[in-house]
Symmetry: C2
Subunit: 429 residues, 2 copies
């Protein structure tokens, strides 16, 4: 039987696996986690609007009826391109040593992590948002900051606790900043007796000259207005030059000196870097990588010189028609997963499919807050309530699992009406 190994159960890997459900292949999907995570809503877990279980679906549940697929939980530590096999190490140490898994075609979809531009030491004070653990850590920090403000006697100290800095005004940064502002102004109103959460300052720092730099500039202006209405302070043309315990240092264009912002809560939503396995794969194959560590693949998403290995999603660098590389978003990964599945089906059938991968951009969406969003669909720009409804529908549609869709919809309904948040627990250490 033709053996396909898929590494990573994110948008790309899962789509490739599902699209091969009727193919005469044996698929092994390897992931370190036992669930598919709907990353676009992770920021809502970080702000207590949703619970982790509502945006994650066990991979085994998704693939239960797909008899040609099996799921292996493990960490892929190495690849042997000449022998066509990958090494899978067990997650639980007791489980014995790793095993080699042979493939006829390999699909690598191991995603990306947040990156700190060479300042990994910043991570301890400015966590990023890629995993459920990240989201719960940010939720703990944000909610704890309000608690600390409540018991602080010194107004200066209280002010530091009520200052929140989000770095990066891409969709995730904008959404996070908007949600933190809503928590402060709506959700927690009346919850505290000493510190007033409405005095919170939410600062969104962006190195480019506008929020949502990948959107049309008209939509950036709408987003900026919506952020301002929520009380978020947007600092454009402003770079983070340092993060330390209790402060972040930013440098605005035109200023001679950096500014120190005293805060205990910094969230990192700027910059990503391909997973470490991308580097290993590049080394093994001699493929080149871009600045973010993403592997430059061929037109058909295969590794140069290795048509039997595909790299897709956030870890692959693919040029669009205009010479820019495609963004690391779910629709790109999904379309690449579907494309790769088509290629594999052709190969199994003994045909050659010469069609190169083409990304069909169906549009971009970003939400800022309650009933506020921006959407760009080709040349059409939509904002306000209409864009927000589009955002809601698209996210519900792509969420995996009927139960999750229903629960998320209900949570949103409750939050919209009560301005509350169902999951604002401080958990973990």
């Amino acid at each position: 039987m033709y053996r396909v190994v898929v590494i990573g159960g994110g948008f790309g890997g899962l789509r490739a696996t599902r699209d091969l459900r009727r193919a005469a292949v044996e698929i092994t999907l390897v992931d370190r986690r036992n669930f598919h995570l709907f990353q676009p809503l992770l920021y809502q877990v970080a702000t207590g609007a949703l619970s982790p279980g509502e945006i994650a679906t066990p991979l085994r549940a998704v693939l239960r009826r797909q008899r040609n697929a099996r799921v292996v939980l493990g960490r892929v530590s190495d690849v042997d391109l000449s022998a066509r096999r990958v090494r899978v190490d067990p997650l639980v140490p007791d489980e014995g040593e790793g095993t080699w898994l042979g493939y006829d075609t390999l699909v690598v979809a191991t995603g990306a992590r947040h990156a700190y531009f060479g300042h990994d030491e910043w991570e301890q004070w400015a966590p990023g948002l890629k995993s459920i653990e990240d989201a719960l850590a940010i939720r703990r920090r944000v909610l704890s900051a309000f608690e600390a403000a409540e018991v602080a006697d010194d107004p200066a100290v209280r002010r530091e606790w009520l200052t929140f800095v989000v770095v990066g005004a891409g969709p995730t940064g904008v959404e996070l900043a908007g949600q933190i502002a809503e928590i402060a102004h709506d959700t927690l109103r009346g919850d505290f007796r000493s510190a007033d959460p409405r005095q919170a300052e939410v600062i969104l720092v962006e190195a480019a000259d506008r929020a949502l730099p990948t959107f049309a500039s008209g939509l950036s202006a709408h987003a900026a207005a919506a952020l301002a209405a929520l009380g978020v302070q947007l600092r454009r043309d402003c770079r983070v030059v340092g993060v330390e315990e209790g402060a972040v240092h930013v440098h605005s264009a035109g200023e001679s000196d950096p500014e120190r912002i005293a805060t205990h809560t910094v969230v990192w939503a700027a910059g990503v870097q391909a997973s470490s396995f991308a580097r290993r794969l590049a080394e093994a194959s001699g493929a080149s990588t871009d600045a973010q560590g993403r592997i430059r693949v061929e037109d058909d998403l295969s590794l140069p010189g290795h048509p039997e290995v595909f790299a897709i999603g956030d870890m692959a660098s693919v040029a669009d028609g205009n010479g820019h590389s495609l963004p690391g978003v779910a629709p790109v990964a999904i379309q690449q997963g579907a494309y790769v599945a088509r290629q594999i089906r052709s190969r199994v059938a003994g045909r050659h499919d010469a069609a190169r991968f083409r990304y069909r951009d169906k549009g971009s969406l970003a939400t800022i807050g309650r009933a506020k969003a921006v959407a760009q669909v080709g040349p059409v720009q939509v904002w306000g309530l209409a864009a927000w409804v589009m955002w809601l529908l698209v996210h519900l549609l792509y969420l995996v699992g009927f139960q999750n869709r229903l629960f998320v919809m209900m949570r949103w309904g409750f939050s919209f009406v009560t301005r509350g948040r169902g999951a604002r627990l401080i958990t973990g250490d």
Copy 2:
């Protein structure tokens, strides 16, 4: 203004606080967590049936409209009975040192932790179930064991991974064992390709001569039958004499030697011990404690010699009419909270309320699995579907917050129909 300090936002502390909402007092509720946890359903988080957010409610949200109450997040580290004050240390180290909080009446409701009969070293292999973190750790262990079995090549190793031991057949132990058996036989059926989860062995170890020893023996027999139908192996008259990496040692009455059960998944549901603050309070007041470290209080739940200090819930030892001490369950704590609030209202009004605390036992409930439960209401014994419906209704009724009730009800509906579990994620390290 009359100052009431309540330590602990569990069933007892929260009830006392809420029942004082119309009293001319200033209440400070101190807790280490920002939420009230519905502990009776914690085992459902441990088995992936519910999400943490569904059984927890932020204390601030509960008390938002109660203007005479404020919530302080902190750790109570000391008490000064003569000066009538408690020391509250901040949870976040940066927040400065602790402060002393004065009271006119103190209500201590700091609960209990699981205990290992002097073998604290067992905890690393046999975690107990008292906090959300405990529940998520157990969920991770249970679900990971099935994953490890899937990749194990050696049948003996696979068997070890598919062996689950629950220690203690009280309500929590019975519920946990039943749920693990249902996960193995129903939820995960078809999810794995190599190891069949239905081969899992779930062993429930109980030192007494029957399951649910606090229930009538007829109900114990019903519970035992329901457990057997689920495939749970009940070992009665059996004591755990050792826990180590990869095994638990048990000693059955009548056997000359202990038996070694090879397993990687042990859950501890036997034995609790009053919180460490109970010891501190006993030291400070000279009050005596029982074998579980619970403080022996007066008929009116006050500390001997300190009518201004009440101890309630799992940390207090109170005799019922027959000389037995009341069990550490939610109804006891709730009734004690209500009683203490009445006492405080009388004192504030300058009256003396001589009524001693009396526990009104409305009954006990334990569920074993899908549509199977036992209930004891005074002399009446109920089992099977009827008891299960009672169990459902009582738990939904006592769950705090309309949104939580609705979500839990829906999760249960889904689980009942699909035999699935909405939250079976492996998270954490």
